[in-house]
């Protein structure tokens, strides 16, 4: 028998079975095995079935309302005229800002943790923070975004904001940000940052040490090594992580809700301070109305949202398959 390992404790139950190998107990054990298999199959099938019922019911409720008009119309009090245009573009802007800000910061953090930092109390503290932040409910990030971005901690009087530029153009900034699309994007960045960091860390760890060693041996500085060797090698996995993060951001409604975006909006953002709404918020508004045509609109909105997410995930799978080959 295997001696002196933790595996001992595990083998004991099986050893006990040897002593009890009577025909009747054997039959019982086989019955238990079969019964358990049935249970496993049943539960797994249940998971698949639930997804099927979910997608089918939403398709049934909403597919008739999905059309180019639905994508091009703004929300309306009349269900027949209503569409998801403002929410769709708001999502593009907010999640775009989220991606553009979360990627550098997240990858930068991972690079520092994996490539540069010497293990110390400070680095373990940072790692602890990141793992704790991953478990924080997204509505709490909304509260942080409300205080930090929308209201700038109260440091700038909202009555007399600092404004630069013309609101009708793209080049317009206002401090405090108010509940514009920049505040939304930054709040979403906070939500997805832990995901980007962890994915980037794993990507960097997957790059073989030998590549870095070779580069350093040839005289490159650590940063040159990282920038020219390690990062490019880690790009496929980082991009997969980024896509996962953006997918999460696209589906988040709670933080945006807390920021206080308007329910009714018939315009597309044109600068970073513009009012906006996102697809999950529009779906939430329609779903809150009594059953009927607005629920069909909610289902149609969900179909559009899921289609966007599916596309993203398909891109991630393609990237994973295409770009992963060089390292192997």
């Amino acid at each position: 028998m295997l001696a002196g390992t933790a595996a001992d404790a595990r083998i004991r139950p099986a050893g006990e079975l040897l002593d009890a190998a009577t025909p009747r107990s054997q039959a019982l054990r086989r019955a238990a095995d079969r019964g358990f298999l049935v249970l496993c199959l049943g539960f797994t099938a249940l998971a698949v079935l639930i997804l099927g019922v979910l997608l089918f019911s939403i398709w049934q409720d909403g597919h008739l309302r999905v059309s180019m008009d639905f994508l091009g119309n703004y929300a309306s009090r009349k269900p027949a005229d209503a569409g998801i245009r403002a929410a769709l573009w708001g999502t593009v802007w907010a999640c775009g800002i989220c991606a553009v800000t979360a990627l550098p910061v997240g990858v930068g953090t991972a690079v520092w943790l994996e490539e540069f930092a010497k293990p110390s109390r400070f680095t373990s503290f940072i790692k602890l923070n990141i793992s704790n932040l991953a478990g924080v409910p997204s509505i709490v990030y909304g509260i942080l975004g409300l205080t930090a971005f929308v209201r700038a901690f109260g440091m700038v009087d909202a009555d007399r904001p600092i404004e630069i530029g013309d609101p009708d153009t793209f080049l317009y900034l206002r401090l405090p940000f108010g509940n514009g699309v920049l505040a939304g994007g930054l709040t979403l960045m906070l939500v997805v940052l832990p995901i980007v960091i962890v994915a980037s860390q794993e990507a960097l760890r997957a790059v073989p040490r030998s590549l870095r060693a070779g580069s350093l041996a040839l005289g490159a500085t650590p940063w040159q090594t990282t920038w020219s060797i390690t990062l490019p090698a880690a790009v496929p996995m980082i991009m997969t992580g980024a896509i996962l993060a953006v997918s999460r951001a696209i589906g988040e409604a709670a933080p945006i809700l807390v920021l206080g975006v308007p329910i009714f909006i018939r315009s597309v953002p044109n600068n970073l301070m513009s009012d906006f709404t996102v697809m999950p918020m529009q779906i939430y508004d329609w779903a809150n109305r009594p059953a009927g045509p607005f629920h069909e609109l909610a289902a149609a909105g969900i179909i559009v949202l899921l289609a966007v997410l599916l596309t993203f995930n398909a891109v991630a799978v393609v990237i994973r398959q295409r770009l992963h080959r060089p390292l192997q």
Partner: protein, 323 residues
């Protein structure tokens, strides 16, 4: 192994390094290297800043809430009536909201933890590769569905089903409908993480058990699961943490009535639903009801932070070392 591509890159980097070996450019390189390092450290400290910002905001606002004349700390922490909205003297006992959250979470966990674990066992111990290749993407899709979709599913499918086929007591807003939807939402988390933990158990243990004559059931349940227990429990805790923090499903389907009850057919209000109700109105932060949502957020944050840290402890303390 380094391939031609990366060696060329390394050589190029090296030639750059070697070619610019003059003292002045070396200093420039030093400065740039240090500047880049500084910005990387700044990125890393953002996570710390975020945590402290959250803590700071919640503590300050909760302090302001608790110091308001209508509110007492003991009532907040021990009271069982939450009725701030209704004029006269508001009552601010937080337990009804916590109870609502726990009821919905308990229903979700009762569904998702066993089903998720069994599914994980099946995928890791029993399933043929083809079945795995079909079911794993299903779980990934389920994991990626936005929670507002589950909320909609709860009120358009689950609740009518409960009302029509189980009992008339299930009205529009009930804990069971919301709880089941939250359960479906956390199911993929339990299944994926438990499966990872199960697969991390070395083949040797399974082979040894099989050699001793155990059935697959014996192996899975009496050998592999105990070996992967820390990972499984960590996955359960993570799923419960997600369920506690869930907002959109309960905002749509659980209701707006804060009370102490364990009746699944009852309408309840969770901590997150209360926060939605207050923040959704974006009133200026002066009313006592509005401030109360910060205090509720603080309680929520404390609970989820506690669970996350317990999960990390479990992972570290009970992780089996095999070699």
């Amino acid at each position: 192994m380094p391939d031609a591509h990366s060696v060329t890159r390394a050589a190029r980097a090296a030639s750059v390094a070697l070619g610019r070996g003059t003292p002045r450019s070396a200093r420039v390189r030093e400065v740039r290297e240090r500047a880049i390092r500084a910005s990387l450290v700044a990125c890393a400290t953002l996570s710390v800043v975020t945590t402290f910002a959250i803590l700071g905001i919640l503590l300050v606002e909760t302090g302001q809430f608790l110091s308001m004349p209508e509110v007492s700390v003991t009532e907040f922490l021990t009271g069982t009536t939450w009725a701030p909205l209704l004029g006269g003297k508001g009552q601010f006992g937080v337990w009804p909201l916590v109870c609502g959250t726990l009821l919905v979470t308990a229903i979700a966990a009762a569904f998702a933890l066993p089903v998720g674990l069994i599914t994980a066992i099946y995928l890791s111990e029993y399933a043929a590769p083809r079945v795995r290749a079909t079911v794993k993407p299903v779980l990934e899709v389920l994991a990626g569905i936005p929670t507002v979709v589950y909320g909609f599913f709860a009120l358009s499918v689950i609740t009518p089903f409960l009302h029509d086929h189980v009992s008339e007591r299930f009205s529009t807003f009930n804990a069971l409908g919301a709880g089941l939807a939250v359960g479906i939402m956390i199911l993929p988390i339990v299944a994926s993480l438990s499966e990872d933990a199960l697969r991390a158990v070395p083949r040797g243990l399974r082979d040894a058990a099989a050699a001793l004559g155990s059935t697959r059931f014996d192996t899975s349940v009496k050998v592999v699961v105990p070996a992967a227990l820390s990972g499984i429990m960590a996955s359960w805790l993570l799923a419960i943490t997600r369920a506690i923090g869930e907002t959109m499903i309960v905002a749509l389907a659980a209701g707006g009535m804060a009370r102490m009850t364990i009746d699944p057919a009852a309408e309840v209000q969770t901590m997150t639903a209360w926060m939605v109700q207050m923040f959704g109105g974006d009133a200026q932060a002066t009313g006592v009801e509005y401030r109360s949502s910060y205090a509720v957020a603080a309680v929520l944050f404390a609970i989820t932070l506690g669970l996350t840290m317990v999960g990390n402890l479990i992972l570290r303390a009970f992780r089996e070392e095999y070699d």
